[in-house]
Symmetry: C2
Subunit: 127 residues, 2 copies
């Protein structure tokens, strides 16, 4: 049975995919995949997602160069969520933070944690 | 601004929430929350989710005793995903594995990683 056949996609044909840094275990981002994104991720070893707003398949880093090289693929007990360990090139977040989860919620409001590891304007202007 | 006001819920009023072990950083599970689940999680310090299949709010561990005590709440750059660090009591997974992501995908198929840390039948029979 292929991975696609094992997975349960939702009524929109999507499955949430969490990526984490293979070296540190840090959670980097969460986005959705459709079957084609899963296939392209397996075939190329680079993480692909499906953009719900743009309604298209995209490779992470196709514009910024901040690609995610697949190191391990896991899926959960219900087979309706993926957890992918990656070697993250540059920053995962378009803001320049290594992880998209750079804000904590405190009683006083949202707090930014850590410094940016990449200059987002430079990354997207590089093309 | 409250956390609820900061977050972007989808067209079904839901937001994906990833939990990780506060001590080890291990990703434990992913499930959905509605606004009431976020409010109950903040109010009680115990993670609550919204079950799409049962269409109701539930507290993780309400049957098994395997509650998740909130240690930190993060949200991503788009404010459409939560990442919550928890002190996991017992196992996060109903199968008895500490994490729901106990299966890796290999070329030869799915492989189970690690031993069960909890007896699932005992946990659910305890009530």
């Amino acid at each position: 049975m292929s991975l696609i056949e094992q997975l349960k996609f939702d009524t929109n044909g999507l499955i949430p995919a969490i990526t984490r840094d293979a070296a540190t275990g840090e959670v980097l981002m969460m986005a959705f995949m459709n079957a084609a994104a899963v296939e392209q991720t397996l075939a190329t070893g680079r993480v692909h997602y499906y953009s719900r707003s743009r309604r298209k398949l995209w490779m992470k880093g196709e514009t910024s160069g901040h690609v995610q090289l697949v190191r391990e693929i896991r899926f959960d007990c219900d087979a309706d969520c993926l957890l992918i360990s990656v070697a993250q090139q540059g920053a995962a977040c378009h803001t320049g933070h290594h992880s998209c989860f750079y804000r904590t919620w405190e009683e006083t409001g949202a707090q930014v944690q850590g410094e940016k590891t990449s200059d987002p304007l430079a990354a997207y202007a590089r093309q």
